[in-house]
Amino acid sequence: MRKIEILGMGCAKCNELEARARKAVEELKIEAEVKKVTDMKVISGYGVFVTPAIAIDGVVKAAGRVVSVDEIKEWLK
């Protein structure tokens, strides 16, 4: 099972990113867990300063912008 983490302290952009990640998972019809990470200590442990960021299976894929559903799908393939 894939693990998608949305890193961010709970802003409008983080919610949008989470929604897009769920949509990507749904469209690909794969098993994946979408989890929100709001603890800043954990977030900076990933080396991320600029939220929202997305990590797939523990690897940061993008930070500081809301990526598109297509981009997330590409990373999940």
């Binding site: 409008a12 800043m40 900076s44 300063f49 600029v50 939220t51 500081g64 912008r65 809301v66």
Partner: protein, 350 residues
Amino acid sequence: MDFLYELTIAGLLSLKEYVALHVITCLIPAFLLAGAMVTFISRETIIYYLGATANKVRSFALASGGSFFVAACSCTVIPVSSGLYYAGAGVGAAFIILWVAPASNILAIVYTGALLGSKMVIVRIVSALSMAFVVGFVMSYFFHKEELGRTFSGFVPKGERVIGKKEAVLLILIVATLLAPNYLVQKGPYLHKVYVWAIGMLITFLYAKKAIQKEMIKRWLEETWWFVKIILPLLLIGVFIVGVIGKILPQKWVETYLGGTSVFSSWFATVIGQIMYFATMTEAPFVHKMLSLGMGKGPALALLLTGPGMSLPNILAIIKVFGLKKGIVYTLLIMVLGTFVGWFTGNYVF
């Protein structure tokens, strides 16, 4: 019933005066600029340099200058500054960002200029930067014990450049579009300003189309739309409330408590700014209205600085992230500095 009607009219007039008249030549380019900054400037690179700089004066200067580009509104500043702090950067630099980014962010600066004139903007920027250095030194002095043994562990960003050349030109073009209507058309009908604005916009977009990748232009417009979506509703509500407050607040009251150049007026303005929540940009019309009711210019500046930078919820969030002690020292420090800056500029600058 008549009273309610009058209040509604006051709110609507305020919307016309502060928002409708500024949409084309101020708000549209300002939002486009904020969007472009978020898209084209590598905030990771700025923060990396900031965290890795051991020299205090240098890192404070970088933090103050970089803050203009790191957070375009107060909404994103706590995650950025706390991220920097937890990654091991100095506590001084982290709190400088926390202070400068909202106190003189690009959207607020542009809007303050449109409503209150260029002198107020210049004093606002200079005050925010001077206060930043004091904040940096005081915070590092109070918490120097825990500074020892901290090392910066941020990752090295992929592209080392802060911004590409073509993107920098685009940013300059947007700034020019923003400034030109007001500086080229000092007198004459508003329509002339719109002409200048339209020419600026046309050049900006033609350049963007030619020089910037399509994907990045799309991202830029998306980011711009985000700012509009998040900030505009708050601005509309805020400006309406400003109109209503202006109607019900007795002039006498404003003159007594916020007028003149006394220490008390500046202190009171600072405390209002620290406790009340002002969405980014709403502080400018609020201060403009208060000035027309007899507020002193010094206290006005104090409110402009502390209004968007601090609020009760914001203080609580800072305490949660940085700890009670740092939160309290920072809050008291801003109170002292805000009062001083208001008093000083009121007596010697304005």
